[in-house]
Symmetry: C2
Subunit: 200 residues, 2 copies
């Protein structure tokens, strides 16, 4: 099993975290997204969307989209709830992550840490921050009455949201007013095989 | 079963389409998103994210996120592939839809059809169009060698992508150069119980 990835990516970190939690070995193939390495003709055969992470199976099939990869690796393991309602709730939070969390918290972090911002991006950063805090508000509210996001236990829904929440400070987000989110980050961090994002 | 929805929404249409394909009855509860009806205290108890669609089950539980609802309604039916790889591929396209398709094609349509655009949005519309066409390019490439998006048959992956693709012209998108997408739209339209977006 190979993971095509970029080590600074929170989307990639989700998959690395699950594999580490599961104690599974894999080969990491690094692609520098800052140098266009995910837009080469060869890479586009793996994912026409030109994005990491992409999982390559032993028999040469490719699966893009971090949260689809999490699902594939978690099916029929303890990392995915086994009743239909809890599975739907896990997906509900995973789609929330990709639509209402990542485009703001991850993009703010990317602009502040990986590139020189354009004047347009400087302006748009304000909205990214506002909407990122709205996502954190929704998480805080949920975690005020629940330890985990779905099925009453640690699952890929937590892993998906952990990816960029645990590095949200790099996007300029202050979690001081989010005690339930901070306590949840610690619970995730206490799971066997836990790994944080590597320094970059 | 109740669906909290807004009839102009492609995200809502996905769920209505699946329910119609399945021949299942439900009660539609309309919330006018243009009048803030999804941000009332009552609505926020159903979905703290303040978005439709939300599925309400017979026993009073609520499930937001259109693609999570599709999954919940499709599990153990013919609308979801039954092998693990094809299920992961279905999710791959559903996450692609929410991250790389909807934020451009649906938002362009919303700005052009439902609101008065601000000068900032007029500027951003150019990028929405560019990235919307990139999503259509990825779909066209896939459909050049496949009839359906996952598992070799019509599934919720097709329904998720149909939601906003079949009204993409309302976002200013011209499908003339996308023959494979147009043929796929017709195949989806030929499924039993098919419904199009209602005029609005």
């Amino acid at each position: 099993m190979r993971l095509h990835d970029f080590t600074g990516s929170g989307n990639g970190h989700k998959v690395r975290l699950l594999l580490s939690n599961q104690g599974r070995s894999f080969e990491l193939v690094e692609h520098n997204i800052l140098k266009g390495e995910t837009h080469t003709p060869e890479f586009l055969t793996r994912n026409p969307g030109g994005k990491i992470p992409v999982l390559e199976t032993g028999d040469g099939r490719y699966l893009p989209e971090s949260n689809a990869i999490l699902w594939y690796l978690a099916e029929e393991t303890d990392f995915l709830p086994d009743d239909a309602w809890s599975r739907a709730e896990a997906l509900r939070w995973m789609f929330f992550e990709q639509y209402s969390h990542e485009p703001f918290i991850a993009v703010a972090r990317f602009w502040l840490h990986f590139v020189e911002m354009t004047p347009e991006q400087e302006v748009q950063l304000v909205e990214k921050q506002t909407r990122g805090y709205q996502a954190l508000d929704v998480m805080e509210q949920h975690l005020t009455s629940a330890y985990w996001f779905a099925g009453g236990r640690y699952s890929i829904a937590d892993i998906a949201l952990y990816g960029y929440t645990h590095v949200a400070h790099e996007g300029g987000f202050d979690l001081a007013d989010y005690p339930a989110v901070r306590a949840w980050l610690e619970r995730v961090g206490a799971q066997p095989g836990h790994i944080m994002m590597e320094p970059h």
